[in-house]
Amino acid sequence: MAIVLEPPPSTTAPDADKHAGTPAGTPFLRRPHSSEGFWSWVTTVDHKRLGIMYTATGFAFFLLGGIEALLIRLQLARPNGHILSANQYNQVFTMHGTTMVFLVIMPVSVGFANYLVPLQIGARDVAFPRLNAFSYWLFLFGGIFLYSSFLFGGAPNGGWFGYAPNTSIPGYLPGRGSDFWVFGLLLLGIASTAGAVNIVVTTLNMRAPGMTLLKMPIFSWMSLIAQFLTVFAMPVITVALFLVMFDRNFGANFFNPAAGGDPVLWQNLFWLFGHPEVYILILPAMGMVSEVLPVFARKPLFGYPVMVFSGIAIGFMGWGVWIHHMFAVGLGPVAVSAFSVSTMFIAVPTGVKIFNWIGTLWGGSLRLTTPMLFAIGFIVMFTIGGLSGVTHSLSPSDRQQTDTYYVVAHFHYVLFGGSMFGIFGAIYYWFPKAFGRMLNEKLGKIHFWLTFIGFNLTFGPMHILGLQGMPRRIYTYDKSLHLGFWNMVSTVGAFIIMVSLLVCIYNIFVVTPRSPRVSADPWDARTLEWSIPSPPPEYNFAEIPTVHSLDDYWHRKYTEDDEGRLVRLPNYEAVRASSDTNVAAPGQHIHMPSPSYFPIVCSFGLVVAAYGMIMGHTNGANYLVSVVGILITIGGLYAWGLEPSAEPPEEHDGEHGGENAPPQPAHLGASGGTMALDAPSTAALPPGETHEGGTES
């Protein structure tokens, strides 16, 4: 129900009970109502809660992936290491890669998009709040499913790229890991597709009045592009995974060379997904950095439209470069040259972005706060990653560097030095918005410098290791290769990163909760999310703002003089103060989507189905478990379809009918018409949406 409003809360409960019995409720489950406590989090459809849950879960997986990274580094610290067995090592590096890509950077980026996009575009929620919850739970269950493989005969051990026929023919790899990998990724794929559709629709459809696409905050833009890529890239790997699944479980021959199957098909499908995936991972971080830099440089983002279009260009070009992952496959000179050149030219829009960031800094008034440090770190580290990427585009010489630690160094500079730096900066930047307290700056700076040093110590030497001939994915190497020194340096660096993470955790969980609360706009920031209290109320905006310019909130506080210098408007303080009190007036009520059990039920059914498929592999009768899982999901979908997105508002309309539109079910954006556009956020979810989910499954 979750009508968030100032009216006495006592009225909500009886109302809720009254409604649970009506046909509007579902036949077999009472609608959840609590807005606090455990169940409220389980059943929540609030994009902000889900965003926090996404990010927190992603962070937890980041720690798991980090522990795996430490194991890898311990094993490789010395030649002929014995910390892990070969098979254990292979599991650990596979899970490290899979975790960091699918369970950390992707969901954390989606988490930020979830939290921020509605706030930045002036919406009440995402387009499909329950689908949003479904995506989150499926992501969580998918992650747990993947990790449960450690308990059932070994984790995936075919690499995050899972090349066939190694993964597709049972017996090549010990254990059942590949089955878990296939089904885990399928689940995560459904979750990310659903989440992506949601964010795309939200961004396109639910912007506040006046917010044209070219007045939209840059983070929302980059998320939009990344989610578009997800929508189009995920089905490709879904098919690839299904083909492997049929090979493994049902004896199909897709990647079986003995039957004429071509393992290179897998590589094409995987990298067709895999390369856009790289941009799915980096674009949101670029957006985050592009939000942070202007705030702490007190200057607008340099060349905002160029930044947008270069992002779009990257998104498009990202589809035309996948063969650069396969330069050593032997695809013939024409294909290799074409993809070398296309790969080189993707550096152009990327370079444009870097120069625009520098342009943003140039001539500004830089405040080197922790978010700013991470953002600047991003620029520098990502530049290294981008440049080493250019050296990879030289396909003739890449035949030396591919599949070595040089690549490992390259993409860690992109994904850690890039994406993770961006995400850390974003955490420091938006934490006060989400929780109303500023993360401790001193610890934040320690965190940054430890990360920065540890990161460069870990991954810098990997360039050297790669050039000195250390292949990837080896669990051991011989003394005769003389690789021990740099590996040891790298391992030391990895532990420094871990220490930096502990500092961060200490900051978040121990120091910050005791720090004082902050105002709505602690950074003197630019975008709409800072115009509402910290943390934002459930309905986000008491009144949906009307947007007049890019960085609308900034322009309510500042203007420029004739020379283009920044001038505070007279009502500067008033604007900032009013942001703190930007809440619904007493009596005003805003209908928000109600919590629901069914997203978690549906996602749970899918996971049960996945376990059934794993078990069915050994005993056909167990496929019945999958059938049960599918039935749970279908049942959940039906209940979901029959359950209204938001409880009907009549009882309140009765109270306040005078100031509201007459009671009628088609109206949600109740208060006073000014928030006309909020209504899509509380969209009713007719069975159409059910089927959206249904066809996915």
Binding site: A127, F128, T193, V197, N198, V200, V201, T202, L204, N205, M206, P209, G210, L213, L214, K215, V231, F232, P235, V236, V239, A240, L243, F246, F250, G251, A252, N253, F254, P257, A258, A259, G260, G261, D262, L265, L269, T546, V547, H548, I634, G641, A666, G669, A676, L677, A679, P680, A683, L685, P686, P687, G688, E689, T690, H691, E692, G694, T695, E696
Partner: protein
């Protein structure tokens, strides 16, 4: 409807925003969330079926053993079931037109007809699969078997889901829970149904009508 004049995605001007005109507060694009979501999902599905069809196409004529498409397909039979599915698109669109007119009896009639035609198609597919299996073609037999069953099976699952949705609609309508205001539900499910149909149009041509190159033996296997 004047209020749904669509602003261009990239070049809309603020003045066009309906809310500022005091007009109907539609979404920014003028399209409802559900419809936009369905279309983006269908865009995504293009890549999904594209990959499956491509896999089939890639492996045409590369099977190392028989049976081959040539000696197993029953084109007249498949033509009829393709025709049935094609006509279900007609009944679907007639159902939509019916609810748009407020004709709920015809809505249910056409929806039922669509579901029925879909069921006939699925029945035909089940029969086809069974007869292929009897003739010795399974997913394990060769590349043709693998890619044929997976491609058409995926399509069949989509059709089955569509039938379930259609029947739900019929049921909802019969219980009076599908008022004309919910015309969009029918439209969105219709979109899904038509999509499944156009996919079959492609499959019918690429898989059934275009013959595989001869020779499943031109490729020597160097595995020792």
């Amino acid at each position: 409807m004047a209020t749904t004049t669509t602003p261009e995605v990239l070049d809309e001007s603020p003045g066009e925003n309906p809310a500022e005109h005091g007009m109907s507060p539609v979404t920014n694009t003028g399209v409802s969330n559900e419809k936009l979501a369905m279309w983006s999902f269908l865009g995504s599905e293009c890549l999904l079926f594209g990959a499956l069809i491509s896999t089939y196409f890639l492996y045409r004529g590369r099977s190392l053993t028989g049976p081959t498409p040539k000696n197993i397909y029953d084109i007249p039979y498949t033509s009829i079931s393709s025709f049935v599915l094609l006509m279900s698109s007609l009944t679907m669109v007639l159902a939509l037109a019916a609810i748009q007119r407020g004709d709920h009896r015809r809505l249910r009639l056409w929806l039922t007809a669509t579901a029925l035609l879909g069921t006939v198609f699925i029945g035909g597919q089940v029969y086809e699969f069974t007869s292929f299996i009897h003739e010795g073609l399974t997913m394990r037999t060769n590349l043709f078997g693998s890619s044929f069953f997976v491609l058409t099976g995926f399509h069949g699952v989509h059709v089955t889901l569509g039938i379930m949705m259609l029947l739900s609609l019929v049921l909802m309508s019969a219980r009076g829970r599908l008022p004309q205001s919910k015309v969009q539900v029918v439209e969105i499910i219709g979109l899904y149904w038509h999509f499944v149909d156009v996919v079959w149009i492609v499959i019918f041509t690429v898989v059934y009508l275009i013959p595989s190159p001869v020779a499943h033996s031109t490729r020597p296997l160097q595995i020792r």
